[in-house]
Amino acid sequence: MDRLPRLALSVLIVLAACAGSFLFARGHVKPFSSNAPDYRELGPADARVTIVEFSDFECPACRVAEPPMRALLKLYDGRVRFVFKHFPLERMHRWARGGAIAAECAGRQGKFWEYHHELYDHQHEWSSEKSEELWLSYAKKIKLNEAEWQSCRLDPQVNAAIDADVRDGENAWVGSTPTFFINGKRFVGALQLSERGTPWVEKELKK
């Protein structure tokens, strides 16, 4: 064989190896559910734009992303559906799951968002050994039925619901929080949400 055909075949071999790497790598991404209980959703169910947030109550970056997220929801009020999914990063955040359980149990009494706001607004206070007493104080502040809330926190189904969200996040290859999916397109962190999220919502609404 001459030099040129050999060179062409060599290039093809290397490109085939690259393509093989692509197929191997992409084979790991799985579909995920964007559903959550009604109390963790905002906006009309048939909205043209659905925003799914995977979040961790103890994550400072999630707290930073709260104001732009709330502003975005206010801006597109009634035109966007928002779904909150738990993704506690327990290797780094010791109290994250406890916070998620507390919020989930507030949600069962129809007060998920009030509790959600309390957790983010006071994140630096309850992310400590004082977590139990502060979680209870937030429950009292938003007038939850304390006995129901306490027994709910021991319910294994609450943990199972959080585990299901974590599995969805893992299937969606969520590696850090907050991660947002706006009609399936990923935005990681407050900066990506602020800079690229809003134009993307506009574009999706115009479709």
Binding site: R3, R6, A17, C18, S21, F24, A25, R26, S176, V188
Partner: protein, 160 residues
Amino acid sequence: MSAKIHPSVGLAARVIVGAVLVYAGAAKAAGPAEEFAIVIGSYDLLPRDMVLTAATFLPWVEILIGWALIFGLKLRAAAISAGAMFAAFLLALASVQLKGIQLPNCGCFGDAIHFTPLQAFLFDACMSALCWLSWKSAPSPLSLDSWVEGGYTGTTHGKR
């Protein structure tokens, strides 16, 4: 007068560097570019509107150079490219240290392996040395370059 590198040393060097680049590139390409963009952005070296583009293409550049090294295709060019990449990584790490930026992780292997900045610095320095060995030992045995040129002769490519 330059020291001569034993062909087997050069072969080992290029396969190690190539495998590292393919693994690092695939680990990052497997995950979402937006995740890798967060890490690249934290280095604060590129303009913000270029970060996502870099996060999308950099893993594939690593994979391409990695396979070129493993198969020994255009070995000198591949070794120089790999060396330039590791030198750029070293400069990026030095820059964040000087700026006092705390990296969440070096981003070397996506989510698969997390290095501290010091570990990443030492690792990249070793890889740079192996790139130099790969470049120095070209032409290399068991390479597509040798096959294209009609056989490995040890010092220079055979001519047809």
